[in-house]
């Protein structure tokens, strides 16, 4: 944490936890009789309870979206550049809620949690969670906080899918749906990448069919490989070249399989540090949730029909260099919304950062988000029921 907290930072935040005892029926057919969600909030809920924003996280995200946990905290929350006073998601005007999704490994009930029936970690017995299951659990969290209708539900990537699902599952419970760098379903290529990542984890000798907690080991190599592969797909070729080029780490070739190039060193570092903070079973679950998301499939593969029920206004944003969730995928969402005559605004932001762009403070992107959210905040102020 910097010595003096900048005026546009939410400062020190404390995660909260709630134990839900209402059973949650899941898409897979199983029921979670009880579960916990960990969440953080920033800003103040107004009297009319009309200024709440839900932040949905992507694959490896969690509830810690902004601010610092303590004075020695080195890094701020994952979307700190976007959430705070006078930032696009302005905490002077909005009450922002961010949670760790079910199945996560940062406090919400997931594979590392104790299964109350066996008193052992769930591990591979944890049910496969879908985007819709998340939305149902998030609705419970909204109810707990006294939020009848979100001013906006916002997410990037897998988070954008949750925002879209919100608009379809609870049409009257959100006024705006903001889906950034997202897609109406994964492409075959995307599913293929996810499968390679999962295979890397599941074939690690330390995986033990997901029961690695019992052996007090973790499938480090597999998780690391999965993350390295992920990282390659999140960056664009240009961004990678600009950042690393073919630069050599020691200024010479070593004629060995150790690290020669900077990019190798970077990927290994990213992979290794991921192992320290993320659970392999959660990674498997999250990638499955991604693969399964396909709301149009229940409507004869007509996305417009799937979205017809939505009442929210939509903001869809994509990035030109994102090939993992390309602009074309966002345009599919936009076309479906246009066909359904929904209120939608779409921007395709020029950016070199690939899929990661949705986390970057790209000026035009943030200006657009800020302008849009200002109208949302004004609208929230007008509601005084």
């Amino acid at each position: 944490m910097p010595e003096i907290i900048p005026s546009d930072n939410v400062g020190i935040v404390t995660p909260q936890r709630h134990h839900f005892t209402t059973a949650l029926a899941l898409d897979c057919g199983r029921v979670l009789p009880q579960y916990e969600l960990v969440y953080e909030t920033y800003g103040t809920l107004n009297k009319a309870r009309s200024n709440a924003i839900l932040i949905c996280h992507a694959l490896s995200g969690d509830h810690h979206a902004a601010g610092y946990h303590h004075a020695e905290d080195r890094k701020a929350g994952w979307w700190d550049n976007c959430i705070g006073p006078n930032k696009p998601i302005d905490t002077q005007r909005f009450f922002v809620v961010s949670l760790n999704n079910l199945g996560g490994c940062r406090g919400s009930t997931g594979p590392i949690s104790l299964n109350p029936e066996t008193q052992r970690p769930y591990g591979p017995d944890f049910p496969i969670i879908t985007v819709r299951d998340w939305v149902h659990s998030q609705a419970q969290l909204g109810a707990l906080l006294g939020i009848e209708q979100w001013a906006a539900v916002i997410g990037g990537s897998l988070g954008g899918m949750q925002a879209l699902q919100w608009a379809m599952t609870y049409p009257d419970k959100l006024r705006h749906c903001i889906a950034i760098a997202s897609a109406p379903k994964l492409s075959t290529q995307n599913i293929a990448f996810n499968e390679v990542a999962r295979q890397a984890i599941m074939t690690d000798p330390n995986f033990h069919e997901g029961r690695y907690y019992d052996y007090q080991v973790i499938p480090k190599q597999g998780l690391m490989l999965a993350r390295m592969l992920g990282h390659i797909t999140y960056l664009s070729e240009d961004a990678m070249r600009a950042k690393f080029g073919r630069e050599l780490r020691e200024g010479k070739l070593n004629f060995s399989f150790d690290v020669d190039f900077q990019i190798e060193s970077y990927l290994r570092y990213q992979g290794r540090s991921f192992v320290d903070r993320f659970d392999a079973n959660t990674y498997l679950l999250m990638t499955k949730a991604l693969d399964y998301f396909d709301p149009a499939s229940e409507y004869d593969h007509n996305l417009s029909a799937a979205l017809a029920i939505a009442q929210a206004k939509f903001l869809v944003i994509s990035f030109t260099s994102d090939w993992r969730f390309s602009s074309e995928r966002s345009k599919e969402i936009v076309k479906a919304l246009l066909d359904a005559r929904k209120k939608v605004t779409y921007l395709d932001i020029k950016a070199d950062d690939g899929h990661d762009a949705f986390l970057m403070p790209i000026p035009l992107y943030f200006s657009a988000l800020k302008a849009y959210l200002k109208t949302v905040a004004d609208e929230s102020d007008e509601i005084t029921h």
Partner: protein
């Protein structure tokens, strides 16, 4: 705020509560005007991000897109009206976009600066130079207008494309339409405004 000449005029041609697509919508002035005065719904389309942000600020729904790439994100006959103001002459293939407009809308409204206006002819004929006027303010090397046309050219194109001209208004940049303009539109008109409809297909 005073609405630009051609925009004020074409607004009268749009029925209340219509669903409208405004191509090259800029800062959304026309759509905001139509929304506020005629309860019109719809979207703007533009390529300039900064203009899109102005639209967002004005509460206008906009789609970021390059008109030179067509209107593939819009379905057939999904709009009552498709509007293209002062943009036709800046397109790579105006004819292709016109056809796209007729595909997605029941009707289209197009406005453009008339290159047949006497001042343009005067500049070319006597000065031997590309015209500069209120309607065409930039020099040839930095103008966005790459496909300038006269009323006659445009009307010929419509005929070729099987497009019916339902209505035409010829004005100067000050919103005026004089008797002389009505008498000699191609010579006296600075800005042309057309209401278009695709001709019904006749089965032989």
């Amino acid at each position: 705020m005073k609405l630009r000449t051609d925009l004020a005029l074409l607004s009268d041609w749009i029925k209340p509560h219509s669903h409208v697509l405004d191509l090259g919508c800029g800062d959304g002035t026309l759509l905001a005007h139509l929304r506020d005065t005629r309860s019109v719904s719809g979207y703007g389309v533009d390529i300039d991000e900064n203009k899109l942000i102005r639209c967002i600020e004005a509460g206008i729904y906009v789609i970021h897109s390059d008109l030179n790439k067509g209107l593939s994100q819009f379905s057939d006959k999904s709009f009552d009206n498709v509007i293209l103001t002062q943009t036709l002459q800046a397109l790579k293939r105006p004819d292709l976009l016109l056809l796209e407009m007729m595909r997605v809308g029941e009707e289209a409204i197009v406005t453009f600066p008339n290159f047949g206006h006497w001042a343009c002819r005067f500049d070319i004929f006597f000065r031997g130079q590309m015209p500069l006027s209120r309607a065409l303010p930039n020099e040839w090397y930095r103008t966005e207008n790459i496909h300038l046309c006269t009323l006659k050219d445009f009307e010929q194109l419509c005929q070729t494309l099987n497009i019916n001209i339902m209505q035409r208004a010829i004005v100067d940049t000050g919103h005026r339409s004089t008797a002389l303009m009505r008498l000699l539109p191609n010579l006296m008109g600075e800005i042309a405004i057309y209401r278009l409809r695709l001709m019904p297909k006749v089965n032989a």
